[in-house]
Assembly symmetry: C2
Homo-oligomer: 212 residues x 2
DNA sequence: TAGATTGTTAATCGATTAACAATC
DNA sequence: TAGATTGTTAATCGATTAACAATC
């Protein structure tokens, strides 16, 4: 049967994990996988995987499971990963540099097309094959590459202002590493990378366990 | 009334965001805040904040709101942030270096007490006031500092093996930056920092919006 | 006092899981 | 065919929201 409900965001957030696991399986030379097996690899129940996939179609075979490559292709198409996505990166401190250098972005369809920093001493420096540019170039670069994705890796104090400029220049989705909640128009997607908050949520449990 | 239910993990994961927002308010010299105002800052409903806090006690005053400093202190106590937490960091590539250099950990009660890398060329190098050590020292350092928290920033291929060693050495909570799901005993907490997966979940929506 | 806002209960909403007919 | 596993429905579980009495 066909599904017409818009898939919930929780489901969308799991799809990239399914895709990644399938990529690993493919590398290992595994051709077929059941929802059970896939679930064990990523600590998700088999029922959840099947339910999630059912929002998008029927990709498996009863009695057999899923063809790894075919399912991967389906999920990549669903996620829009059939083409490269241009991304601009704002803030080239040590974190920004690590992001710029990480080939895990590039190999996964995310191409950084612009590096920006407010520090005049940094502007002009080369990171890989990109040159750090001044904010004044932000708009032009975003337009030129039709970038709709941006990564913010600036200090918390300026993150909101950077976000405003990005949105103004046409960015539609922001991955924010700065420890502040951004206020953006509702048609702009914002997600957070917040290791300190995550660690603080784990100290809660550690504080309650017996310390040694 | 008193609450006896264990607070759900979603609630625990929001507490650090409340704490951070209260810290900003404190810096701004704001002494009192309502659940409404706090909620607007972090895009959470007032009802949710009040409900979340009710798992831990009564911290506000009807008609007034919350005393910023008092509520912050309460939440920090709940999260176990009244003392510093020793953390070991495994993997000192460019990401690991950025983490090691980030003072946002240190200022928030997270003290990196050991840096480890498999690359003999890196062992002995100094990052800030720490020297990169060989894996053979992992156990000793974890014991010495009673570290129960670890950060993994190694390549995906070795992340599981590193996790195994960490757990074996007594680590109880892991923040994993490697793009693999870790298998650990159920009394070990694992959380993920996964920018690629997050970006891939946003491309889903962008692919469906009108491109320009 | 009147107005504001809490803490909590009940209602709603949404997500996960269990179960099983369909079928490879 | 018999065994395995899908896709889907219904049941369960859990989280969010609305509403309001209590009270500062």
């Amino acid at each position: 049967m066909e599904r017409l409900d818009a898939p919930p965001d929780v489901v969308i957030r799991r799809l990239p994990l399914y895709a990644r696991s399938l990529r690993y399986l493919l590398e290992e030379g595994v051709h077929s996988v059941s929802s059970q097996e896939l679930g064990e690899r990523i600590n998700v129940t088999a029922a959840q995987i099947r339910k999630d996939l059912s929002y998008f179609g029927e990709f498996g075979k009863q009695g057999i499971g899923y063809d790894v490559e075919k399912l991967l292709n389906h999920i990549e198409r669903i996620l829009g990963l059939t083409h490269k996505w241009p991304v601009v990166l704002v803030g080239v401190g040590s974190l920004g540099q690590a992001i710029a250098r990480y080939e895990g972005f590039h190999s996964q369809g995310l191409q950084i097309v612009g590096l920006f920093d407010a520090d005049p001493a940094k502007v002009g420096q080369q990171i890989g094959d990109l040159t750090i540019q001044d904010f004044s170039q932000l708009r032009a670069v975003i337009r030129e590459h039709h970038a709709r994705l941006a990564i913010i890796a600036v200090p918390a104090t300026v993150a909101q202002s950077v976000a405003d400029q990005l949105v103004e220049a046409g960015v539609r989705a922001i991955l924010n590493y700065a420890p502040v909640v951004l206020q953006t128009p509702e048609d702009v997607w914002v997600r957070y990378i917040d290791p300190v908050a995550v660690l603080h949520s784990m100290t809660y449990y550690l504080a309650r366990e017996g310390g040694e």
